[in-house]
Symmetry: C2
Subunit: 503 residues, 2 copies
């Protein structure tokens, strides 16, 4: 059938196409049927919603579709019932334990990006991967297909370095130090980061406190060609868009099949043209990778996948058993990272990790002799050269390079927990710290978060401050306090952990 | 947050809740987030759609929700963000190959029915079942949970018989004969049927040609207590509603995990209070169960599951390699079934199968001695007693018991295919016949379908009529003719099956 477009101002989270009851009956369309909309060369797929808010002869299309395609109101489109996409057969092949061929993986990825596959099919794909896995041939094909169905960056500087931390450890502002240290030596490092999904602050959330992070790929090319580095939000780019779609199923099910995780990370590096990639795998209780054995297995996969992609990959297994540095939350972390860059000093966990990672990159990039990278990285940090480079990056990204730490606003609603007894800190619960910071408002409320005054192993006295919660809103502070009381994120040896009985 | 309800006249195929951009930001809600709507004792879950068609302070709820719950426009509801349902953990347990406990299965089923689980989670569940399966403990728990989360029938007559054919064979109007034969002996048989999903006519579609099939459970109780039988549409009842929801994922993926299929069928029998259940498993090329071995394995499962449910189950493995009788399509099948009941005669494939199945039920119900059931069934059919009972059923279901076959309208747009050469019929392609009937308009167009003049093994001469396509609309007839030319559903020995080259 042909129909005139009517814009519907809705964001449904999926592609919806509203059709009148009369037209649906005539065209034998049912709720949730897949249809193809065609106008000249423009093609988009959507799911049928039947509605009497739409006249016969009209078709309502949601803002989701308009935002990505160039349809306009009143335009006439062809509405064609779309059958089952071919790629569903390949998803079923994987469901039944078979190995997929390259063209089959490409077909699945293309149909995901074209929105021909929807929640049901994508969830079946993710679930099949979680159960039956992918071998390295399949992972390499998936990675390349994911990169090539999106935009790719082509920077006229070589070599291109990159660093990626597998998420999970709170307060991990490390790469905000690593990038300017590496770039200060003349190496190129176009770093894209994510926003927080389940954490309290992604690197992009932190950088956004003092610079813009949302750019087009062309703008990033200009920034990187000028200053040799960037610290931008990857989500604004059309890098490996299939990943942005499958992540919805992964998050809903809280699964993260290894093959898909590898492809997700490496497809973005591949799309950015990265040649030397350092993967940081924080390991410890309460992060994504809990044991050294898991971390080692994953390392081998990253290195092998890199070879298939023509990238040189190294992996650093780092300690992730407690937060990095003292702060968790966008503004608090921005202050801590910038302070370290400006002064060359900071919490050991942050400085050692940042210079350690940067040092490996300097050696990979050939600017430091083997074994000398960390020393050189520390010198660059302490000499102020890293801060100089960071000022260039901030300026190139539209921020104020003369920013003063005390100008960064943090939440003025605060509450400090103190030690209920003397003893040694035996553990800091990553998940609880993240949950408290998020409950206090992070990452949406930039000033919300947690500041920690102690680290595992420290000796403390009763009444010593343990941590402060910052919030922008009183109600959120109160909720975070309740959660902190319940979860007791800092364990002290000799402390009563739980009291059961009459209160 | 609190919000006033605004009705949205949409059928989205899922439960949608429209919220203004402003309210969504304030409440930290994102597209597709799950929210709980609460007003007094009324509770319903829905998925967030962000829309500027809604004012702040209002909440748009779709007709899907209003149809099942008693919310009214202008009513104030509490909108509460709902976290991840507990049952997602159990779905993941099954994903990881573990056996589920009874309470875990109950939790999944309850959350499906409450719409707390959506496409992503349900698809993950279905995929996990397809891959990892269920053992008999799990299947029994699933069956009972599915029945008990819906309505159940309590009929004051014993024993209660039931019959169910596993789908797939076209033209299977058999149970329209079985039910009145069985009921004519005084046994009770409250038969619910489905409408066509992928076939050209479900039993409910056929019966609807000459009687109503949509009733409430109370009405069915009255009908059955009066005439001892019914032939109604199960979909209008709230029997095992979880099944109606999971079927969407199964259909999209075209998978049918055995455990889920068993639970789906038997939960509805359990909810109807059936004590003696006969399962008909048509077996042959182009139907759901293609080999005798598969049919035998499935039979054992049905019988074992019946034991767990306190039901006595028998299974008949029947020949499903070609259509039953001569007709496919609602009105054509209605004519054929009623003709057989009125005259006691009809195509051998229909009469033999119907009296065979009815005979087993008569023996199960204790009204025929062992080995004498089929003979008794045939006598009941030929004596006109089955037709007398059918007249009672038709009348009780609001139809005309004096219906004349020629009064049943069939499509007046017809096209007859003739044999291109002489020879023996070597095969009739079930899937092609179904596809042709559906393309001609069945089941929506009641008069559309296919009439077959030959059966496998028959000798035919060039020019003999093979089958006629009936349609209500010229365009659909033309499409069906094209499809029939392409698929050649009737194979004749010696016929050129495919000609490749210049035409």
């Amino acid at each position: 059938m042909k129909a005139r477009i009517k814009l519907l101002d809705v964001l449904s989270g999926r592609y919806s196409v509203l059709i009148s009851e009369e037209d649906a009956r005539e065209a034998k369309l049912h709720p949730d049927d897949l249809v193809k909309l065609e106008a000249g060369k423009k093609i988009v797929y959507g799911s049928v919603v039947i509605s009497n808010m739409i006249e016969s002869g009209e078709i309502g299309i949601s803002r989701d579709i308009l935002e990505l395609h160039n349809f306009s109101e009143g335009e006439t489109v062809n509405v064609i019932p779309a059958g089952t996409p071919e790629s569903v057969r390949y998803i079923k092949k994987k469901m039944h334990g078979e190995k997929l061929r390259k063209v089959e993986i490409e077909s699945i990825v293309r149909d995901i990006v074209d929105r021909k596959l929807r929640d049901i099919e994508i969830s079946a794909f993710v679930t099949s991967l979680e159960i039956n896995g992918l071998d390295m041939d399949e992972i390499a094909a998936l990675t390349i297909a994911m990169a090539e169905t999106g935009d790719m960056l082509d920077i006229d500087r070589k070599p291109i370095m990159d660093v990626h931390s597998i998420g999970g450890v709170p307060g991990n502002k490390t790469n905000i130090l690593v990038v300017p240290i590496v770039a200060a030596t003349g190496l190129t490092i176009p770093k894209t980061s994510s926003r927080a999904i389940t954490s309290a602050a992604g690197t992009a959330d932190v950088v956004e406190v003092f610079a813009n992070v949302t750019f087009t790929l062309d703008e990033i090319k200009r920034i990187v060609e000028k200053v040799g580095a960037c610290l931008v939000w990857g989500g604004a780019l059309n890098l490996a868009p299939a990943d942005d779609i499958t992540i919805k199923s992964e998050r809903t099910l809280s699964v993260d099949p290894t093959g898909l995780m590898l492809a997700s990370i490496m497809s973005k590096k591949y799309a950015m043209g990265s040649q030397y990639v350092l993967i940081d795998i924080p390991t410890g209780k309460g992060v994504k990778v809990e044991t050294i054995d898991q971390a080692r297995a994953l390392s081998r996969d990253f290195i092998e996948l890199g070879k298939r992609l023509g990238q040189y990959v190294e992996v650093a297994i780092t300690y992730g058993g407690q937060p990095i540095g003292h702060t968790v939350g966008p503004a608090l972390e921005a202050r801590e990272a910038l302070s370290a860059l400006q002064s060359g000093k900071g919490p050991g966990s942050l400085i050692e990790k940042a210079t350690g990672l940067a040092g490996i990159l300097l050696e990979m990039g050939g600017v430091a002799p083997a074994g000398m990278g960390k020393k050189m990285a520390k010198e660059i940090l302490q000499s102020g050269k890293a801060w100089e480079k960071m000022r260039e990056i901030i300026e190139a990204q539209g921020g104020n390079p003369d920013i003063k730490l005390e100008e960064i606003p943090i939440g003025d609603k605060t509450y400090t927990f103190t030690a209920p007894s003397s003893g040694y800190v035996t553990g800091i619960d990553n998940r609880a710290i993240t949950a408290i910071a998020r409950t206090a408002g992070a990452p949406e409320d930039k000033g919300a978060g947690v500041e920690l005054y102690v680290k595992v192993g420290e000796k403390i006295k009763e009444g010593d401050p343990l941590f402060t919660i910052y919030a922008e809103h009183e109600a959120r502070l109160d909720q975070a306090i309740v959660l902190a009381r319940r979860t007791e994120p800092i364990k002290i040896e000799g402390m009563v952990l739980q009291r059961i009985g009459n209160i």
